[in-house]
Symmetry: C2
Subunit: 548 residues, 2 copies
């Protein structure tokens, strides 16, 4: 790509007032140039004469529907007279260099969008997924006003691509269940924010909602109920629904901890199943239970799980969990004790390393890349394969520590990106906060920098992504949208657009508030019950609700 | 009423295991006695042969509909075999001593409910509103299980009445707007929890959504939009909808502060209208603006507002606001300065006393009781009429201070009862908390005692009520249900049932968790999107999710 500075030297937007069009785009594009014409929409119809990809065709149909029904007026345009139309948009043509439908960490999501003062707009991308990102931007540029639709500030030239390759959202569907319709709506909302990874924390101690062909009783005994299950068909529908939105689905089968629900059908391979009332000696939360790492049948089970579900989930990355293992659970286990008496050269630590090694090898043997929580790297003696993706959550400093060791890092620090925090303790005999209070405001999320304290260019490249997480101790479908949105959108922008603009200025929440209001109201219009940021008065009066 | 101890000495429930029937009642009745029979529901039909009140008739129709469609199974009964039916319920008859439809602070809400092992249940009450409370209890006793409906643990005898007369919920419909359907759903939810006051904080600085016949431009210029208004007809519908649920509607017209929206049509009677960017010198939050207390037209306006709206709102209590007045706003006002130069014996303080006096007199002259925030009593030199109801919010200690002065108190301390808190700052250029963090968990709400530090029986009687509040800086219709419920239900129980049981034991959150889970799931079944308290696993396994 040619340097944009040479092409559009005088008009590159770097700071200052938002043009009306730019105000309606979230996340903000990397290169954005605009004029001052108000183009009325004669037709917004999207066509793609030479596209053969059925996935991109489905995306175009979806955006044609969104465009047909959407009538988004920015709050600042309330009661404002529509501008005089000075040009006429007649539609958008889409072209791509390749119709390849492979979706992976390496997928090229760049696109170029040109909207003239009059005539057809043009969207070009290398991949079909880049084209999808451009379709979202295009849809956001169409604003309604006084019965007309406009693209304001034309001509517009956008060149855009993400800063981070993995822009994810974790949903825990095990502590509480979410119907697939809610997951699909969440995927819609992710696509509105150019997010591209659905990290499906699908099972945990409390329930095992997903079908297993290998061990049917995992679901039969482990799901919360007949109406709280994910069949193979459901999972396939979710994966397909995600793919036509350019979203990868990474499943997590958390082992060896967080597995009480396995014990409902396989008690013989478990340790410390539901110890009460002192569960805190055995687990981070009730019910306790871990795979019994002294038993070969337990690691064989774990390998079987990997083998089964890599067939169901096509993504190249498979998440193995590995977090919050409790040593005491095993130290108190009679079978572990017997084993260690018979094998005094071993220990709980060597057994754990052996377990991790078996499941990570299984992933590698099945041509997948392993992903795991940071404890596997930092809190055990195990050395994961060098291509393992390490997800940081305990400490923001785990991100620089991970890349310093040469591993790829996904930033999910609880201190910034845990969207469930801030609702106080959930053990109902306490009257106080939780370990991860306070609530993470969108400003706090926006201000977090996954690259903080990493100076080496090589190490910065190893920070491949960021993920917000919704753990479900205090969430279920009744509160899903408001827990996620618009706060997840804050991370969506910093992970797509980066923390800084073209001249290195770190964007402030003050500067982006108006755009985020627009994005929030647009999402509500599209059926996502995103929570309000402020009184409507503030959204209509940009700059009037700042702390002096 | 005879001492229940003499009537049912051996079986009064005081502590320990919940009977299956008691587990499904929220708030807990003052006297509850049960047997061990499982009565199957042949008919649950409610009839009231001798009732002439159309309001009670409407309530009976409503509960017959709820009962017809509801199929609530407690989470603990999941997959449990239905009990063997040992008796048969054939319906409920309702009788009342009076068909008087007056609804006020003094309304008698007591009722007696008897459900035999076999035959007709009987509900008796002194007033139609007491009968409504009993209808709710009756509906909660019907639980579904395996295709049958039961009343468990019959025979049941309940004698019930509230500890506090005013059990309220404040909704701020000015910072953000709520459609009347959302308000009606909130009134439904309140009735499910025996709450009886909807405190309608209907106008504020940000908008004036309600119609005014006296000053039509208040709404025309002050409402957020044509689709964000409350007409007289809307208000009347809300009042009627509330009354058939036994809920009073107390309107609040907050003056002289929080009135920027008045300035949109009446700038001549205002001071410090929307000072920017240093609004913090003039108001608690933007936009600033107060009635200009140096101008007779301002207090005349305030008196006109009282005169108009006492006609629209029939309740005997009228809330005048009076909170968070900013002296600097007036000290800097040119007209106030001129007035005080001409009248050196006066001051901002005397002007404020004079203003308060005029509006409180207007209320009294219209045969209403004034209600006001605690600043009127504690932060000004004004002495309100002795029958004024003082609402505490700044400090929990304001409650004992209020009753020590001989005034009646409503407890709404922000530290316990502000349901909007805990979502961090909302001025979007800050990355931190808000003054009223943290989030108030249901446990914290439940543990708060409005009577704390008040020992004199006479003074305890002056604590007439409690109110949770949802201020709307960060709330609107998208998040309403989850912000309110089930946390408001925690206050609903402590204000109806009191803090202690019959033998003076202070109920703990540990003891009531199972009942609150039931109430939350029942509410979700009735269409209230109440947030979950815990993983479903915890709700199904009482006692397994406590902190050791």
């Amino acid at each position: 790509m040619k340097s944009i500075k040479h092409m559009w030297p005088a008009t590159v937007v770097v700071l200052g007032l938002l043009s009306p069009a730019l105000a309606s785009i979230w996340p903000i594009p990397s290169v954005y140039v605009n004029g001052t014409t108000n183009t009325v929409v004669a037709s917004a119809q999207i066509t793609a004469p030479s596209i053969s990809s059925s996935i991109l065709s489905a995306a175009i149909r979806r955006y044609n529907t969104i465009i047909e029904y959407e009538s988004f007026t920015p709050p600042t345009d309330y009661n404002r007279r529509p501008p005089d139309p000075e040009g006429s948009l007649t539609g958008l043509t889409v072209s791509v260099d390749s119709n390849d439908e492979t979706l992976s960490l390496e997928t090229d999501e760049s696109y170029t969008l040109d909207i003239p003062t009059t005539g057809m707009a043009k969207l070009k991308a290398n991949s079909i997924y880049g084209a999808m990102r451009g379709l979202e931007t295009y849809s956001q540029l169409l604003v309604a006003n006084g019965g007309y639709r406009f693209v304001k500030s034309t001509p517009i030239h956008i060149e855009d691509k993400p800063v981070l390759k993995h822009r994810g959202l974790l949903l825990d569907t095990a502590r509480n269940y979410y119907p697939i319709g809610d997951i699909m709506r969440t995927l819609d909302a992710m696509s509105f924010n150019k997010m591209n990874v659905f990290h499906w924390h699908i099972v945990d101690a409390q329930s095992w909602p997903v079908e297993s062909k290998t061990f049917p009783d995992l679901q039969n005994k482990g799901a919360y109920g007949a109406n709280m299950r994910y069949s193979y068909k459901d999972v396939q529908e979710i994966i397909d629904y995600a793919q036509v939105r350019g979203i990868r689905v990474i499943p997590e089968f958390d082992m060896p901890g967080h597995t009480y629900s396995v014990g409902l059908s396989k008690p013989s391979i478990m340790s410390c199943l539901n110890k009460q009332p002192s569960w805190d000696n055995f687990a981070a939360e009730p019910p306790s239970g871990q795979l019994n790492i002294a038993k070969p049948a337990a690691s064989e089970f774990a390998v079987s799980i990997v083998s089964e579900y890599v067939r169901l989930f096509p993504d190249s990355v498979f998440h193995l969990g590995g977090d919050e293992v409790n040593r005491n659970c095993w130290e108190q286990d009679p079978d572990v004790k017997l084993y260690l008496e018979a094998n005094p050269e071993e220990s709980v630590e060597t057994l754990l390393v052996d377990f991790y090694d078996k499941v990570h090898n299984a992933v590698a043997n099945l041509n997948r890349v392993g992903m795991t929580w940071e404890e596997t790297l930092f809190h055990s003696n195990y050395t994961p394969p060098k291509n393992t993706i390490i997800q940081a959550w305990i400490d923001e400093e785990s991100i620089p520590k991970t890349v310093a060791k040469g591993y790829r890092s996904i930033a999910s620090p609880a201190s910034a990106y845990y969207l469930d925090c801030g609702h106080g303790g959930w053990l109902t005999n306490v009257d106080g906060g939780s370990w991860c209070d306070p609530f993470k405001t969108w400003m706090h999320i926006y201000n977090f920098d996954p690259m903080a304290n990493i100076t080496s260019a090589k190490q910065r490249k190893l920070v491949i992504g960021a993920e917000v997480a919704l753990w479900s101790e205090q969430s279920d479908a009744t509160v899903l949208d408001a827990r996620l949105w618009p706060r997840a959108a804050a991370m969506a922008e910093t992970s797509w657009s980066g923390k800084t603009d073209a001249i290195g200025h770190v964007r402030t929440t003050k500067e982006v508030t108006q755009r985020l209001h627009n994005q929030r109201f647009r999402m509500v219009g599209r059926g996502i019950m995103a929570e309000p940021l402020q009184p409507l008065w503030c959204a209509r009066n940009p700059g009037s609700c700042f702390a002096p």
